[in-house]
Each structure stands twice: as structure tokens, then as C-alpha cells.
């Protein structure tokens, strides 16, 4: 029983990484209707950004770790940096293709993803070798009902849930949120109503990139290693999570992320290869039962 609880903790930890990344996927899909394959690489940029920014703050290190204010500053700078890169990617590579067939945008995203992985790899000060991630939080262990929990895990899970709630409220209660929903429903009509579509899309990419940076920091704090290819498989899994929950739906992304994280950890406990495949099997089963994902609305196709 205790070990099941332990797996659950690990599952929630991994799930919160997936969920944060899936939020970005789902928002971009909801608004631009494109699968941004390069989204996982924003996670890598966030993690690497944090690595280099924390190097700048090294003179603030006390007892092998950073003071809270420095940690907050590092995370915020990394979020803004990654968000800006996401906005730049959208403006350079995706905006010109907005009215083209969606597969074209997907291929461009594959190209962007290759660039984001291989450009840092070629840069001499980053390179292909993994780096060890600095400790931003001192790990403390607690024992809850026989399962060991660390404060990093709690921070991650709480942060993921808080972010999701905040994002849900922003999308549903604020002006920019209603603009986002308007663009998502009908871009041309939104344009006619005076919504600045380009700005809304840029903001969406910024938020997606910033969340990817946070999930990158979470992931790298839990598994303290960063390399240029870390984003690709995490990106794939969180993409599955977003679809599982119903792509385009914020609550769905969160739910999908946690389901996938827990299922993957439980299955990995049985067999490590099976752990990777189980997410895809769940995905196919759910899509066969509910073709638009758990929370997704089935749309009726009109001629």
C-alpha cells in the first residue's frame, strides 16, 4: 500500500510537468489550430536559461543554495526569456503560414524543433553534453503514510494546480481571456469585432513558453540534468496528455497530464518499456471511446 502511495507521489510529480507543458500545447492549439511540435523544446530552453541565469547569481549562493528572492528572480527571468523566444518563433516561422494548410505549419514546426535542438548543440558553450542542474530548492524529506515526499515535489504539484486555476480564471474571466476565446471560435469574426488577433496569438505563445519554462525548471529540479534533447520526448508525452484530456481545453490538459503521469509511473513499476507505451495505449482507447478526448467537445462537421 505504501509503495502504491509512493508511486502516486512520483506520478503526480511527473504529471505536473506534463500538465504544465500540455497547457501550452492546448492553448496554442485552441487558438491557432496548429500542433506546435517545437513546444517541448521551449521546456529545454527554459531549463537551459535557468542554468545560465543561475550562473549569473552565483555570488548570492548561501550554504550551497540560493536565497528565495534570487530563486524567484531566476525563475521569472527564465519565464520571460522563454516566453519571448516563443513569441519570436511564432512571429518568424508560424505567422506567415497562418492561412496555409495545417500540415504545412506542422512541418515548419518540425523544422523549428530541429533548429531549437541543434542550434544550441552546435554552440560551443552549450554543446551536446548533459549539464547538472543547480539546486534551486534544498530538498527536505517528509514521510506521509509511509510514502516519502520531498518539498520540491509539493512545490511542483501545488504550483501546477495554482497555475492551472489561474490560467482557467484568466481565460474565462478577463478581457484578454475573452479575446482568446473569441479568436479560438472564429478568427475573422474576432478581427471584425476589433480584437487584435496578432497580439492575442503572441500573448498565447508567451504564456505557453513561460509555462514550458516552469515545467522545465520543475523537471530539472526533480531529475537534475539538462541536455538539448530533453524537450523532445517530454514534448511528445505532454502532447499525448493534451489530446487525452481534449486538446483545446485547459482543464483537459491538466487532467490528461496527471492521468498520464500516474499511469506511466505505475506501468514503469511493472516494466520500463511498457511504461513508455502505456500512455499511447490509453490515448488510443480513450480516443476510440471519446473521439475528442475526455473534456473535448465533439464538433459537428458541416458541408
Amino acid at each position: 500500500m505504501a509503495s502504491i502511495l509512493q508511486y502516486l507521489v512520483y506520478g503526480l510529480q511527473l504529471g505536473s510537468v506534463y500538465a504544465l507543458l500540455a497547457l501550452g500545447y492546448t492553448m496554442v492549439y485552441g487558438i491557432v489550430r496548429m500542433l506546435n511540435v517545437a513546444h517541448g523544446d521551449f521546456l529545454m530552453i527554459g531549463a537551459f536559461g535557468t542554468y545560465f541565469i543561475s550562473k549569473l547569481f552565483t555570488n548570492m549562493v548561501v550554504d550551497g543554495t540560493y536565497p528565495v528572492i534570487a530563486v524567484v528572480a531566476i525563475i521569472l527571468i527564465a519565464m520571460v526569456l522563454t516566453g519571448s523566444i516563443a513569441v519570436a518563433v511564432e512571429a518568424i516561422a508560424y505567422r506567415p503560414l497562418r492561412n496555409k494548410p495545417r500540415m504545412i505549419a506542422l512541418i515548419t514546426a518540425v523544422g523549428v524543433s530541429m533548429f531549437l535542438e541543434n542550434f544550441p548543440r552546435a554552440l560551443p558553450f552549450i554543446g551536446p553534453n548533459p549539464r547538472s542542474f543547480p539546486t534551486l530548492f534544498i530538498t527536505e524529506h517528509f514521510t506521509v503514510a509511509g510514502a516519502s515526499v520531498t518539498n520540491v515535489q509539493i512545490i511542483m504539484i501545488v504550483f501546477a494546480i495554482v497555475t492551472m486555476t489561474a490560467l482557467y480564471l484568466v481565460v474565462n474571466r478577463t478581457k484578454i481571456g475573452s479575446q482568446m476565446r473569441a479568436v479560438s471560435m472564429d478568427r475573422d469574426a474576432a478581427l471584425l469585432m476589433g480584437v487584435n488577433v496578432n497580439q492575442v496569438i503572441s500573448i498565447t505563445f508567451f504564456v505557453g513558453g513561460a509555462l514550458a519554462a516552469v515545467s522545465g525548471i520543475c523537471y530539472a529540479s526533480a531529475y537534475p540534468q539538462v541536455d538539448v534533447y530533453m524537450g523532445s520526448w517530454l514534448g511528445n508525452m505532454s502532447f499525448v496528455a493534451a489530446v487525452l484530456g481534449g486538446i483545446g481545453d485547459i482543464r483537459g490538459a491538466m487532467l490528461g497530464g496527471f492521468i498520464l503521469g500516474i499511469a506511466q509511473i505505475l506501468a514503469t513499476a511493472v516494466n520500463s518499456t511498457f511504461g513508455y507505451a502505456v500512455g499511447f495505449i490509453i490515448l488510443i482507447v480513450i480516443l476510440l471511446v471519446k473521439p475528442a478526448g475526455i473534456m473535448g467537445k465533439t464538433t459537428i462537421e458541416k458541408v
Binding site: 500542433l35 511540435v37 516561422a93 506567415p96 503560414l97 496555409k100 494548410p101 495545417r102 500540415m103 504545412i104 506542422l106 512541418i107 515548419t108 518540425v110 523544422g111 523549428v112 530541429m114 533548429f115 535542438e117 541543434n118 542550434f119 548543440r121 552546435a122 551536446p128 523532445s232 511528445n236 502532447f239 499525448v240 489530446v243 486538446i247 516494466n271 518499456t273 511498457f274 513508455y276 507505451a277 499511447f280 495505449i281 490515448l283 488510443i284 480516443l287 476510440l288 473521439p291 475528442a292 462537421e301 458541408v303
Partner: protein, 338 residues
């Protein structure tokens, strides 16, 4: 005269083969170049078959490497495990065994292709795409679990039966069959589904049947290509057929031009050769390749050969769109545009 003209493409293949052999003899082409050419040929087969699903039937398959891996493993199991590799087969029987292996590999892939076609009854667009991607990854995970075929370590000692001649033959055969299929009533049904599924349904086309058929045929060709791949490299492992590989084929297809067999050839050959040519850039190679790809997509988003087809890759009795092919004057103009 017309009879003679229809033999030109076959003649071209023979000339290409002879040219490659001569260049090999005079040592302009070394083994490395030949291998790059062989992979280019396999990629042409993969891209052309993907074109049938994505470009002509309008479905989204983004896990094509899954079919390739099934074919590679199917063929390798036949030639290596059942017939005991190169030493187990007398010289005379090697070709039949090789062909049998390729056929079995193709059939394995086609069978699963039919299975994948079934969700396509319910799912559309992006969701179908994701199911195909998930399928590719599940196949990879399962292959890693099966120990008799080497598990995650992969299979070694596969006889290297496939040479440049076989590859050329199969590429030519694939293109010939696909061309004839696309300009047949079946092909028209595929294109009708792509252009408007509901309208196609209303016109009495059994969309389910044709969608599954398109997946099956594409999977079969991908399986044969996978079999060739296994017999070129002599070594296969599940991880070489990952999402990255599937993405490669998508890139070849759309950079070359979806819905054009010429595009599949140009895209696959060019984008297989470019990374090899860029080897002098060392670490910057893939970054430059990615930039080239993005620029192509931005400035020519219909693909390099989008909307253009080489004369011997189309049948000019009527065009794809059911309209009579324009008169000679017009078709000349069309070429100038492309």
C-alpha cells in the same frame, strides 16, 4: 510510337543503373555514396507511399515509421531467423528467400495498416494523426519487449541482400504502381475523399473502404521499404523507427510537395543527400538543415514540386480533377508556371 514512348521510363531506370555501375567502376562513387543513394531510394518509397495517404487521400498519417519497422522486422525474421541468414541459404535460393522476406514484411505492415484504418472511421484530422503516431510508438515499445528478435538491442546479422539494383527496381516499381493506382477509378475515389469527404460519400463512394485501402497499400509499400532497409544495413533496432524517423518522412513529403509523386522523389532524394553534403559543417549541420527546411516551407509552402508532375508520372487521358487534360498549348504554360 506511343508504345516506344511508354518504355522510356523503364529505359531511364536501366540507364541510371548502368551509370551508377560505371561510376562505381571508375571509382567516382565509393561505397559510402552508393549507400546514401540506397537510403535515398528507400526514402523515396516511404515518401511516395506516405503521399498516397496524406497527399492523395487527405488522411493524416504521422507514424509511418511504424509500418517501416514492421516490414523491416517481418523481412528480417524470414531471411535471418527462419532461413538462417546468408550461410543457411544456398546461393541460388537467396533471391527467392529475399523476395519472400520482403513480401512477408509488406504483408505484416499491411495487416496492421488495415487495423489502423479502423479508427479512421471514427476519428478525423488531427485525432487520426495522433492515433497513427501513438501506433508507431506502441509498435516500437512492443518490438523492444520481444526477446527472440533481440529486444531493445536489435537484430544483427541480417544478410545484405539488397543492393542498388534491387533498390532501383523497387523504387521504379513503386512509382509505376502508384501512378497507375492514382489515375485509376480507385485513385479518383481517393482524391475525391481528400477534396470533400461528405460530397464523396454522397456520390456513392464507400469512403471507409477506400480510406482503409489507402492505408493498407501505403503500409505494404512502407513494409517492403523497411525490408530493404533491413537488408541494406544488416542491423535494425526498434529505436531507429521512432517519431523522429516518421517526422523525417513527413518533412520529405511536404517539402517535396504533397499530392505530387515528383515531389516525393525530389523531396526524399534532396533531403537525404543535403545532410550528407553538409557534413563538412560538423555540429552546425542539422541546424543549417533545419533553417533550409523552414525557409523552403515559408517561401514555397506547397512544396518544391507542389502541383507539378513529371510527364511519365501522370497519365494524360484526363487530369486528377476529372477534367480533360488541357490542350498542348495550355499544358506548356502550366509547366512554365511550375
Amino acid at each position: 510510337m506511343k508504345k516506344v514512348k511508354s518504355l522510356y521510363p523503364a529505359l531511364m531506370v536501366v540507364i541510371m543503373y548502368v551509370a551508377i555501375m560505371v561510376l562505381k567502376e571508375v571509382r567516382i562513387l565509393n561505397g559510402y555514396y552508393i549507400q546514401v543513394l540506397m537510403f535515398a531510394g528507400i526514402n523515396v518509397m516511404m515518401t511516395a507511399s506516405l503521399n498516397l495517404v496524406n497527399g492523395f487521400t487527405g488522411q493524416y498519417c504521422i507514424g509511418h515509421a511504424g509500418f517501416m519497422s514492421l516490414g523491416a522486422y517481418g523481412a528480417a525474421v524470414v531471411t535471418t531467423l527462419i532461413f538462417g541468414g546468408k550461410s543457411g541459404v544456398p546461393l541460388l535460393l537467396q533471391t527467392p528467400v529475399f523476395l519472400l522476406g520482403l513480401f512477408v514484411g509488406g504483408c505484416c505492415a499491411a495487416l496492421v495498416g488495415a487495423l489502423i484504418g479502423i479508427p479512421s472511421l471514427k476519428l478525423k484530422g488531427d485525432y487520426l494523426a495522433i492515433v497513427t503516431l501513438a501506433f508507431g510508438e506502441i509498435v516500437r515499445a512492443l518490438l523492444r519487449l520481444i526477446q527472440p528478435i533481440g529486444g531493445a538491442r536489435g537484430m544483427i546479422g541480417i544478410p545484405n541482400y539488397a543492393n542498388i539494383g534491387w533498390i532501383l527496381f523497387f523504387v521504379a516499381l513503386t512509382l509505376y504502381l502508384l501512378r497507375n493506382l492514382i489515375y485509376s477509378p480507385f485513385g479518383r475515389a481517393f482524391v475525391a475523399i481528400r477534396d470533400n469527404e461528405i460530397a464523396a460519400d454522397a456520390m456513392g463512394i464507400n469512403t471507409t473502404k477506400y480510406k482503409i485501402m489507402s492505408f493498407c497499400i501505403a503500409a505494404f509499400i512502407a513494409g517492403v521499404a523497411g525490408g530493404l532497409y533491413a537488408h541494406v544495413l544488416s542491423f535494425i533496432q526498434p529505436d531507429s523507427f521512432s517519431i523522429a524517423k516518421s517526422n523525417d518522412f513527413l518533412v520529405y513529403l511536404y517539402a517535396g510537395g504533397a499530392g505530387s509523386l515528383t515531389g516525393s522523389i525530389v523531396g526524399a532524394v534532396l533531403l537525404t543527400v543535403i545532410p550528407e553534403v553538409l557534413r563538412f559543417l560538423a555540429d552546425w549541420r542539422l541546424a543549417v538543415y533545419a533553417v533550409v527546411l523552414v525557409i523552403v516551407m515559408l517561401y514555397r509552402s506547397e512544396g518544391l514540386c507542389g502541383g507539378y508532375e513529371l510527364p511519365f508520372l501522370k497519365i494524360t487521358r484526363g487530369s486528377l480533377y476529372g477534367i480533360e487534360e488541357p490542350k498542348k498549348k495550355l499544358s506548356f504554360k502550366k509547366k512554365k508556371d511550375a
